[in-house]
Symmetry: C2
Subunit: 358 residues, 2 copies
């Protein structure tokens, strides 16, 4: 996303390949370079580098003017610190940690609990759970319908086939995350085979809501892989408290019937403060590249909540406004000439217009 | 600027009054609060606090989500560091240091050198030189016309009346800045009475271009007050080197006849990299609040070059995008409803439209 946005903004890009899939990175880089050549972009507009420890040199290099990053909270924070301490500080757009809460409303569980269980399980295990927007916590209101749903989701998650992850490091992190959950006294394991061998096993846990309300670290941390965690709240007041206890996230999802959504309309302003994208009756995995997309959110989901790494709004990350005062029309580029030869829609004295300026 | 922008973006503001003009600050705050009451904005939307050392507590307070600042490079850097080290880091929009280079082209000096000297002196001493966009360095190409211009500017600056600055601290800083220039071996004093008493004396200096080319600190630092510094370059190549040696600035100004501007069109891409606003045949003091204004620039002029503190674009500083996916039309605010009841121009599937969505 950031590479496409930076190129669209006219910036050359230096890309550090992930050590876990270097051959894939090389294939993608070659495709980008071929495309750049075919479209006659300047030579050197895209560069990929390989190696451990080269990130630091890159972030500190004076020619680098912005950084995009996806990865761990520690890694992202370290990059932000380095960038802020440069002689000339630069922005870092880091996507670091998101557990993407899903709120299940009572009417939907009553009307189509089993379908929701199937769909939600599908979203959790999609691509072995290796999506930033993987639903990592599922919140429901205590009720017979939610209890039935828990059984249904347990069955769904228990019947998932193991999956191969992107690389061995990812599998190691996933196994460690699962162990932490298994060993936590406030967390119950509901489904999933022991995590052993070379593939990731889908897992389902249930945690006491007090862990979330008391700021337990484990419930704020993303376990990157095919796992999710159920939380049961006693009533609407506790649902509100639980959502407010969440840190910044990329997404929040609300599953509800029309009557649910009217009744729980008060969720929206709470979720707006917490996330970059709010979904209704959908699942957060799958991200459309379009004008309306926001794939960002408050810290620690991202280091800079004012943008997105996916969608056309991402181009703004790599632009800096420059104002020309009293420049001769003849010395202005076509986009700014009075005659508007490119027929652009422009803001002229506060009014949008695609007409020439008289 | 930032207060107006934050309010326009829907954010409440806590403003720390400058200790040098507290009564003025109180008058302005009262006016803002009266306006907020008359327009029925929520109570507490604007707050002013007084006192030394309260800034740190403000920047670190979890309810504060962004910081605007105008002041010294050291002060701004310290705030940026504090904000970056918060448990939840927040953006700082600091405007810190700018010497606003003015480039005088040969044709203009030939055609109207005396007028330029008068106008430029007026810009340097306007408001006792207390503007972020005060022209702090004036660059010209060695020639008889430039030598004559130097004499004319020397006469203009020498005949300025002393002026009262905003506060005693500002006068102390100005006196110290003037002393540094007077004591530098590479800097010649051309005009200005000794800096003594309670008012600021306008001063004119000339510095050897080598100071700029070798990165001498003194030539990069803003002297906040009615003073400016001439630099003579040998030729176009040295002009280019001198401009490239400048750090980030708020503005750059080019004074030239039409033939000059065509011949020196190559200046534009260099200046674009260095500043937020480029002026032709105007002077950087006076800033219009409008859609096109950019009152920002690369570090150290500002801490975040992607924005502006003056003009409507400043509102973006205080906004964060949120995407709603599959939200019921009935639960959307009027601005987003399909019928477009507010008649807004909206980006719909990539096309601008003020029509209802079918």
């Amino acid at each position: 996303g950031d590479t496409a946005a930076a190129l669209a903004a006219g910036c050359p890009v230096v890309f550090k390949a992930h050590s876990g899939h270097m051959a894939t990175a090389d294939l993608v880089a070659s495709a980008i370079i071929r495309a750049a050549e075919r479209t006659q972009m300047p030579k050197g507009v895209f560069n990929m580098i390989f190696g451990n420890g080269v990130g630091e040199g890159l972030v500190k290099h004076p020619a680098i003017q912005a950084v995009g990053f996806t990865g761990s909270l520690n890694g992202g924070n370290a990059l932000c610190k380095m960038a802020a301490e440069r002689p000339q500080p630069i922005p870092v757009f880091a996507e670091m940690s998101s557990i993407n809460p899903v709120v299940l409303l009572p009417g939907a569980l009553q009307a189509r609990g089993e379908t929701v269980a199937k769909e939600l399980a599908g979203s959790v295990v999609m691509g072995a759970g290796q999506f930033c927007t993987n639903p990592g916590v599922v919140i429901g209101l205590r009720s017979p319908a939610f209890s039935t749903f828990i059984e249904q989701l347990t069955e769904q998650m228990g019947s998932q086939a193991p999956q191969t992850m992107l690389n061995a490091g990812g599998l190691r992190s996933y196994s460690k995350g699962v162990e932490h959950l298994l060993s936590h006294p406030g967390v119950t394991h509901l489904a999933g085979k022991p995590q052993e061998g070379k593939q990731a096993q889908a897992q389902l846990f249930k945690a006491d809501v007090s862990l979330l309300l008391n700021g337990d670290q484990l419930l704020q941390e993303e376990v990157f892989g095919p796992t999710t965690l159920l939380i049961e709240v006693a009533d609407d007041a506790q649902l509100k408290d639980a959502l407010q206890a969440l840190r910044g996230q990329l997404t929040a999802t609300v599953i509800g019937e029309p009557a649910d959504l009217s009744q729980y309309n008060w969720l929206q302003p709470i979720l707006e403060e917490k996330v970059g994208r709010i979904l209704f009756n959908g699942y957060p995995t799958r991200v459309e590249v379009c004008e309306a997309m926001v794939h960002g959110g408050p810290y620690p989901a991202t280091s800079d909540a004012r943008g997105t790494s996916v969608g056309t709004l991402a181009i703004d990350r790599f632009l800096r406004p420059v104002c020309y005062q009293n420049r001769a029309d003849s010395q202005s580029p076509p986009a700014l000439q009075n005659a508007n030869p490119l027929g652009l829609r422009r803001l002229v004295n506060g009014e949008w217009s695609d007409q020439p300026v008289a």
